[in-house]
Subunit: 635 residues, 2 copies
Amino acid sequence: MDIDMSAHPAWLPPEVWQPIAGRRVRVTGDGPLIDTVRAELRAGGATLVGDGADLEFGLGGDPALGGEGFEIVRGETRTVVRAAAPHGLLHGLFALVRSAPDGRHRPAVARRMVDHWDNVDVHPVMGQVERGYAGGSLFWRAGVPRRDLGRVAAYARLLAACGVNAIALNNVNVHATEARLLTDRLAEVAELAAEFRRYGIRVHLSVSFAAPVQHGLPTADPLDDRVVHWWARVTRTVYDTLPDFGGYLVKADSEGQPGPFTYGRTHADGANLLAGALAPHGGVVHWRAFVYNHRQDWRDRSTDRARAAHDHFTPLDGAFRDNVVVQVKHGPMDFQTREPVAPLIGAMPGTRLAVELQATQEYTGQQRHVCYLAPMWSSLLLGHEGPAIAGAADEMVAVANVGDDPFWTGHPLAQANLYAYGRLAWDHTLDPGAVLDEWIGLTFPGASPALRSTLHAVMDGSWRTYERYTAPLGVGFMVRPGHHYGPDVDGYEYTPWGTYHHADRDGVGVDRTMATGTGMTGLYPEPWASTYESVADCPDELALFFHHLPYGHVLRDGTTVIQHIYDTHFAGAAEAAAMRGHWLTLEAEVPAELFGRVAERLAEQVRSAAEWRDQINAYFFRKSGVPDRHGRPIY
Amino acid sequence: MDIDMSAHPAWLPPEVWQPIAGRRVRVTGDGPLIDTVRAELRAGGATLVGDGADLEFGLGGDPALGGEGFEIVRGETRTVVRAAAPHGLLHGLFALVRSAPDGRHRPAVARRMVDHWDNVDVHPVMGQVERGYAGGSLFWRAGVPRRDLGRVAAYARLLAACGVNAIALNNVNVHATEARLLTDRLAEVAELAAEFRRYGIRVHLSVSFAAPVQHGLPTADPLDDRVVHWWARVTRTVYDTLPDFGGYLVKADSEGQPGPFTYGRTHADGANLLAGALAPHGGVVHWRAFVYNHRQDWRDRSTDRARAAHDHFTPLDGAFRDNVVVQVKHGPMDFQTREPVAPLIGAMPGTRLAVELQATQEYTGQQRHVCYLAPMWSSLLLGHEGPAIAGAADEMVAVANVGDDPFWTGHPLAQANLYAYGRLAWDHTLDPGAVLDEWIGLTFPGASPALRSTLHAVMDGSWRTYERYTAPLGVGFMVRPGHHYGPDVDGYEYTPWGTYHHADRDGVGVDRTMATGTGMTGLYPEPWASTYESVADCPDELALFFHHLPYGHVLRDGTTVIQHIYDTHFAGAAEAAAMRGHWLTLEAEVPAELFGRVAERLAEQVRSAAEWRDQINAYFFRKSGVPDRHGRPIY
């Protein structure tokens, strides 16, 4: 690595403080977050004054602004930022930095979280960060805490500046070492929490449901008094050290993690156990709904993994304590490039729900490919082709995409995904293109029109481009097993993971209809149940998710399934090549190291897109025997 | 692991010394190997006497017996074992133990070697032993030599008792730590060599062609004087420590290993460099012919990996020094369950050739499946469906299948493969069933007729059974990439490894004919070139290795390709289930731990065979659309 190891400033380079620099600022109020506001202003070049200010930050705003809302009023000679609570002033400061418009600003949901899948020890298969594509953990290195927390402080600032207010530090797959963070390694958590606290970000921990057993109890049965007492005692100790600790995140009975099923108990029993321990201290449990049979027999077509979270959790609606948040992935499968919204979302009106997005690009190019995810997230939030997540979700969560890479995210342009996540979690009505534009302005201060338009050309449509050259029509999971990078059409077809496409010489796709399939379409509210059930009405992008279709079936866009596969794959790969062409015009516009890193990754993206194109086309040509209408090369 | 960690006696349990125990034996001659003969006799319960012996071991046999041959003459009152050299007496002793018949016995080839793919460090992907299915290395544990060499001594004895006389200790993929065995870690090699020396087994080392660079030279160019001197000096030091050192084993320009191509030199240049360093000391270079393009573009059908070794090496025939042995895998691909013999074998009359077999069951069930390999090896040696290896091979080599597992080989029945390898290397005319019978007699002393016949029922046909339920008709490589266990028909189809099957909706197989394919059939001598070239004459077992055939093509056995696939897969899985049934009758006949271990593995074999059956059948049914003639379930 011959790149300067000091971190890239991301969306907070010195130049963006221009709206602040040189101004006379008055800040009223006290407390740690107000101290942070003052420190940021000073660092940004403002002069703090008692009076005669042309910029004022102060409490006393309308109580309806809540704990994090703020109001900006720009007068002729003076700008005023008001909030009802200190956290609002901090948000107001960063809003001013990004030149937010006048008016009242409140977050759409109260908790906007990032979940790190960081391991303390380097995991033999998953590495330091599970599904991490940006180097090692910011928090631990080879089993021990990092000594220099400068990167953590910078990270906390970046998160605060895009609106994130909660963080889970460690992987939901809790291994032996990581289980000790809750107990004898709590001091490490406290050190990290101190950095995040200064930016209004509360720290949460992933815990193992079997923790009592790991610590010597004979059982982890949630209804056993010893277990109840163990969690109460341990939780009390956590809060003695960390009075503002956020709570626990739990992956239970999922992909081999322990859970209440071991004891014949329900997920409500399990979640309520932890919620009971946390309630006296104001903490919450995030209880993941990612529960399915990962030892399915591929020969069994009656079991449908896409139903699993819904089938497991909806019967428990109303059974969870108030401080339980059921955390559900946005789609019914697992963060594929295209999935319908998970039918569980909206189906538990009596339960607090957090919706989990994946900023780390596990299935979307692993930060080697440009894939700006905000258009997908926006579409899901607003309900463009299914029930809207916004409204149904009480909280938002994203799996983090950062590491100790100098550009934070491996691919420098992947920074935009983290930024956009924070902004959309705060305000789901934002336009993804506008958010990108905001990010460009912050990240490339003084960006020329050419730089701006070229970045839009590269990024705006990059998710759709990625979709075009990878798995077609919502079918998903045509990736290499294990690492999930690159194509392997049958890679998961005969495995126990419940991820199938059922391609044969006549057709492809999973029949999830009520009429002839697994009935999963019926889990949706109308009009979506009918829309998905009907081959004629189902959006093309989800055609193979919900239906098994003959290759000759004519889609809504007028092409056949097979020709659509060929067309999108040729188009997607060509678009990837075009993206690279666009980028290469920017050599004089962006710093050399950033230019080089992106150029190098785009070269790989172009190679990989051609590989996807050729494998997918070859696979379906060999199966279907249908030639490409345009006679392009298929191998 | 709740199994007794003391090693299983394998084919040398105390009971087999019955032909020796209590006898009065006279041994004449001196030297370390004669000392070993005496020690073995004493341990076996014989009384060593000066005269009055009823069993005699002595030198002075016909010089035509060579260094390892021996003669057994059983008289009315006295048995005499004669040899021309001490090593022959040691072989004679073990021959007596297994009740070999009277007469003269000489090995077919002078060197019968096992190659260990043991790493010193635990490799992050490959583990302690690359493609090892029997636990850790007998030689190293987690980077350091094992302190207790008792297992090594026992292993040396087992090898000697089946006729092996050379061993390469470390993996042909030579990583950084292992490269130091040649230099500053030579003392570890010396300790191991001492154990093997007592049993007439010479030690060899795998070395990296880039070793001079790793040790500080700017180049490893075989024609550079500094490199020549480096190897000469290092080799001299090795022989100072180990005067009977065997030589070097080299995997060069192969799967990422360094080699002479880096310097624009030939394999002859490379091999002769090392041969020159070894020649003054009597050592040899084993230079592997496993050279192919492992970064092939799957879209390129003109490149044929099966040609590669032949195309690389035959032009060099005659260019190698006398103490170079070109070591070639038995087949042109890589140890698949069924391959034709490698066309390189027999095609280099002016070069010493070693043929490499794979006792470790990488592609043949990984020692979880019973797969007695001697029938395959015998068929290849004798030339049942291609040119005979015997005659063309000057030496035999097998990749070892042992580890620190208490049963040596993980699967207790896999011991038979190592035993049979040694015996067939000594005498390729032995019948595989007779060798198995010999192994049964030694391993299960006093075996009842029921035990004997049941073991034959389980093992005799196990290779053919394994072939039936896995990749069909010689096509190979339908395994999970990476670990190579279990089915994945397309797992290697779109990879750079050169291992394809070209299945589409119409047919399957690789066209290697001269008429329309890669011309690989033309690399064989007649009559084999014509036999393989002709669809009508090509053996069914190799039909898809040499031809791309429509599913409806009628094979020599009268069935179509597709029906053959279905039939063999149903039959193979049923045979695996029957093997398990046979074994379960043996509970009272064999030790409990051995019974349990085999039973547990057979359960996995039955499961895995059904998985193979169903995946292969489903894959080809989905592609071909042809139903099974007998209506059996295909998913």
